[in-house]
C-alpha cells in the first residue's frame, strides 16, 4: 500500500519541559513495543543511556529552548535531520515557561538570583547560560507540530506513522469544540462559564469538557482562532480583560503573544 524501503532512523530529543511527551510515548502501552520496532530509534533521551547524537532522518524535539547550549544543539539537530517535529506544546509554542520570556524582566530576574553579572557562574553552568524560553520554531524551521501537554497517543500516532512510512501527514486544524461536539457535550460558554475550546487546537478528544472541566488550552493555539471575538465573549461572561489574557497566555505561548499584538 505504501512505500517504505527501510526503517527510518528516529531520534527523540528533549530540551526544557517536563519530559511528559517522551513519557507519553513510553506510556502508549499497547503501542510502545511497536514504537521501538517500527522505526530505528537511535536516540531517546529518556529511554536510552547512550549520549552520542547520531545522524537521524526524523527528529522529534520536545521542550522549549532556554539556554545557549540548547540553542546550539537544536541547530545541530536541524542540520542533520530531514524532518524536524516539534513535540508537545513547549516545543511548538514555548509552553508555560514562555510566560517568563519578557527580555527586560528576564535580565532583572537573573540579576536578582545570580548577582550583578546576571550570569550563572561557571561552576554551576551545566546546561549553558539561560535565555528567555522560546519555542523551537523561533530558531529553526519546523516541519510538523504535534502539540499537547502532554501529547496524546491518539493524535501523535497517526502523524508519526505517516512520517515513518514516508508519507505526508494531513494538516487539518480543528478546535477542541469539534471534538467536544463529537462527544455530544454541553457547552460551558452557554452557561456563563469560561472555556478556551474555540481557540485551542484539537487532538485531546476534548478530555476536559467531557469530564465537565473547562478547557484551559493545553494543546496550544488553534490555527483558526479568533482571539478578539473570544476575548469579547469571555468578558461578556464576566472575566476581566486581565484574567482573559492571563488564561490565553498560559499555554498560548508565542502565538497568543503575536495575536494580542495584532500580528
Amino acid at each position: 500500500m505504501w512505500q517504505r524501503e527501510k526503517k527510518p532512523v528516529v531520534g527523540i530529543f528533549g530540551f526544557s519541559g517536563c519530559a511528559g511527551d517522551q513519557l507519553a510515548i513510553l506510556h502508549m502501552e499497547d503501542s510502545t513495543i511497536d514504537f521501538f520496532t517500527s522505526a530505528d530509534i537511535k536516540f531517546f533521551h529518556m529511554a536510552q543511556s547512550h549520549q552520542e547524537v547520531p545522524k537521524v532522518d526524523i527528529a522529534l524535539v520536545e521542550g522549549s529552548i532556554n539556554t545557549e547550549r540548547q540553542l546550539k544543539e537544536l541547530k545541530e539537530i536541524r542540520e542533520m535531520a530531514d524532518v524536524v517535529v516539534a513535540l508537545g506544546t513547549c516545543a511548538c509554542y514555548g509552553g508555560i515557561q514562555y510566560l517568563g520570556e519578557d527580555v527586560e524582566t528576564f535580565k532583572e530576574r537573573m540579576e536578582y538570583v545570580y548577582g550583578k553579572s546576571g550570569e550563572v557562574p561557571e561552576f554551576l553552568d551545566l546546561v549553558g547560560q539561560p535565555r528567555p524560553a522560546q519555542p523551537i520554531s523561533e530558531y529553526i524551521d519546523v516541519d510538523i507540530m504535534i502539540p499537547g501537554c502532554p501529547i496524546s497517543a491518539e493524535n501523535f500516532v497517526p502523524i508519526y506513522t505517516k512520517l515513518i512510512s514516508g508519507l505526508l501527514p494531513q494538516k487539518y486544524p480543528m478546535p477542541v469544540c469539534v471534538e467536544c461536539k463529537y462527544e455530544g457535550n454541553d457547552c460551558f460558554l452557554l452557561h456563563g462559564k469560561y472555556c478556551l475550546g474555540p481557540v485551542t487546537a484539537a487532538g485531546c478528544n476534548a478530555t476536559c469538557p467531557s469530564i465537565d472541566i473547562s478547557c484551559i488550552g493545553c494543546f496550544g493555539t488553534y490555527e483558526g482562532a479568533n482571539y478578539p471575538s473570544m476575548i469579547d465573549k469571555l468578558k461578556e461572561i464576566g472575566l476581566s480583560e486581565e484574567e482573559v489574557i492571563r488564561k490565553l497566555k498560559l499555554f498560548g505561548g508565542n502565538k497568543v503573544e503575536q495575536a494580542l499584538k495584532g500580528d
Binding site: M1, R4, T161, Y182, L190, N226, M230
Partner: protein, 343 residues
C-alpha cells in the same frame, strides 16, 4: 393507545433491537441507549446532537488496510430503534436520505439507515423552534411510527411496513377506533400548538432572493468578525453532513484504518484543495457558504431549504450566529435599500 399501556408498548419495541431515546443529563438532552422505561424523558425540546448520529456518526472507519490488501468495514447489522424523534429531525433525516441514497448510494449510510427504526414523537415549541417558518413542523412520512401525545392517550401513526409490523404485534395495546371526540381533541391540540410558536424567520418566502440580493453585503463581514470558527453549528445541525477522510496507520506501520469524521465549512482549511489553494480563507466567506448553501442553494435545487428549523444553531452557537440573527440582519439590509419589507 391509553397512557397506561405505553410502558408495555416500549418494552415491545425494545425487543426489536437496541433502543435509544431522549434522556436528560444535567441541563442537556441526548439520545442514549435505554435499558429501562424510566430513563426516557419525552418532555424535551432538542438534544444537542440530532439523531443524525445514528446514520452519519461523528467518527467511524470505512476501511481496514494492511500492506498488500484492504477490507471494507461496513456497519454491523444490529437494528437500532430511536424513539422520541421530533418532526424537524425526521425532516432532516429525509434530507440526508436524499443526499446519501440518491444516484450514488453511500454504502455506510445505507446500511445504518436500513437498520434504523424511527419512532417519532410530538412536541411543543420553545422560543428557538422555527420549524413553522420552514414548513417542517409536521411530518407525513419519513418515520416508521409516530406518536402524538395528548392528555391521556397517544395517537399512533404508521409510516412504513416495519412500523405496521410493530403495530400489528402491539394489537392488544392499541385501540383501533378513534372516537370523534378524540379527533376533536387532536385538532384542538394542533391549533394550540400552532399558536405557540413565537419565533419565525422573517419573510421566509423571499429568503432565497434576500440572500441573493445581499451576497456582497457588509452584514457577512460583521458575522465573520464574530464567528469563532468553532464548527459547533455544523456539528449540531441535523442536516449538516460534510465529512473529512483520513487514513490512520497503526504504530506497527503495517496496518491501518480509513476514518471518516464530521467536518464543518466554518473550519479554516475546509475549502483547501491540492496545491494549498484555499477558496475561502476567511471566516466571512465560510459563513456565507454555510448560510447561502442552507437557505438559498438548497431551495434552488430541492424547492426547500436544508434548514428544518430545529433551533440548534440558535441554542448552541456561543456568539449568536444562527438562522434567525443572519436572516434578520439580511432582511433589515434589504429593508434599508428596497421597498420589500412591508409585505
Amino acid at each position: 393507545m391509553s397512557k397506561e399501556k405505553f410502558p408495555e408498548f416500549v418494552e415491545l419495541i425494545k425487543s426489536k433491537g437496541k433502543l435509544f431515546g431522549p434522556v436528560k443529563q444535567k441541563e442537556k438532552y441526548s439520545f442514549e441507549e435505554i435499558k429501562d422505561f424510566s430513563e426516557l424523558d419525552f418532555d424535551y425540546q432538542r438534544t444537542i446532537i440530532s439523531p443524525k448520529k445514528f446514520i452519519t456518526p461523528a467518527k467511524y472507519s470505512t476501511l481496514r488496510f494492511v500492506k498488500f490488501g484492504q477490507t471494507e468495514v461496513l456497519p454491523d447489522d444490529e437494528p437500532q430503534i430511536v424513539m422520541g424523534v421530533h418532526p424537524c429531525d425526521i425532516h432532516a433525516i429525509k434530507i440526508l436520505d436524499r443526499l446519501f441514497l440518491g444516484n450514488i448510494k453511500d454504502p455506510y449510510y445505507a446500511k445504518r439507515r436500513e437498520n434504523l427504526i424511527i419512532i417519532g414523537h410530538s412536541c411543543l415549541p420553545d422560543d428557538k423552534c422555527v420549524c413553522q417558518s420552514t414548513g417542517t413542523d409536521m411530518v407525513e412520512d419519513g418515520f416508521d411510527l409516530f406518536l402524538t401525545e395528548l392528555d391521556d392517550f397517544y395517537l399512533l401513526w404508521v409510516g412504513s411496513d416495519k412500523g405496521l409490523g410493530i403495530a400489528i404485534e402491539a394489537e392488544n395495546l392499541l385501540e383501533e377506533n378513534v372516537s370523534e371526540e378524540e379527533i376533536q381533541e387532536y385538532v384542538r391540540w394542533q391549533q394550540e400548538r400552532s399558536s405557540m410558536f413565537t419565533t419565525s424567520i422573517p419573510s421566509y418566502k423571499y429568503l432565497a432572493d434576500i440572500i441573493h440580493l445581499n451576497y456582497d453585503s457588509d452584514v457577512w463581514e460583521q458575522f465573520g468578525e464574530k464567528c469563532l470558527s468553532c464548527g459547533t453549528c455544523s456539528l449540531v445541525c441535523p442536516t449538516c453532513n460534510c465529512f473529512h477522510v483520513d487514513d490512520k496507520i497503526m504504530m506497527n506501520a503495517e496496518e491501518g484504518i480509513r476514518e471518516r469524521m464530521l467536518d464543518s465549512c466554518t473550519l479554516p482549511y475546509y475549502s483547501m484543495v491540492a496545491g494549498n489553494h484555499d477558496f475561502r480563507p476567511d471566516r466571512t466567506a465560510r459563513l456565507k457558504l454555510y448560510y447561502t448553501h442552507k437557505l438559498k442553494e438548497y431551495i434552488g435545487r430541492w424547492g426547500q431549504p436544508s434548514c428544518v428549523g430545529c433551533g440548534r444553531c440558535i441554542a448552541y452557537c456561543p456568539v449568536d450566529i444562527n438562522v434567525i440573527t443572519v436572516s434578520n440582519a439580511l432582511f433589515e439590509e434589504v429593508c434599508e435599500t428596497q421597498e420589500v419589507c412591508d409585505q
